[in-house]
Point group: C2
Chain length 117, copies 2
């Protein structure tokens, strides 16, 4: 495995990084929804937790039937079994990053995993 | 574990999400470096791959001694053993997200892990 891989996001509505960067511990997607649009299905996961970061705009996410308002700067963890569906606001689009990782997969991190060179 | 957790990033120079969101599969940090500043040490990892997404501004990262220019929209995977050090440009700051996950920890994902409800 090369010591690093790099890609550049353009103006795609969805860009998946797993293959582009040869990721082995996560799938990461960049997503845009225009004003009034929503993901057209509700989904959950078997084993993966998802972390969502709102990069611009605002909207809402239904999580197990609860509507949660979201705006730029908000970050959420959603448990695997939770049923989720993201939508942009009616008058403003939204862009967000979705990070998919296996629940309970992280061992040590930061000070416990880093080596200062 | 609750079905979701949520937090909001303010204007901190560094914000760590692991505890704030009770993450179990990743550590995620939001980072800002002003123009001319750099992380004051070089580091590598034992077991974790890191994925960096540049959210605004520009700068460069030294990876095993190679200088790689980075700007908003760029995403990189850096292998655990690679020695890395991030800096802002001399005349412009940079903000980036750093996602730390255990190398080779992801099993199925997206279509192989999602359940359409």
């Amino acid at each position: 495995m090369a010591n690093y891989t790099k890609t550049t996001i353009g103006n795609e509505n969805r860009y998946e990084l797993h293959e582009a960067l040869s990721l082995t511990g996560a799938e990461i997607s960049l997503n845009r929804l225009p004003a009034g649009a929503g993901v057209p299905f509700v989904h959950a996961h078997k084993n993966n937790e998802e972390i969502y970061g709102i990069l611009s705009g605002r909207g809402y996410v239904l999580i197990d039937g609860e509507s949660v308002n979201i705006k730029a700067g908000d970050w959420l963890r959603i448990a695997p079994a939770a049923k989720r569906q993201f939508s942009a606001a009616s008058d403003e689009g939204i862009s967000f990053v979705c990070i998919q990782v296996k629940e309970n997969s992280l061992g040590g991190f930061t000070k416990d995993d880093a080596i200062i060179c």
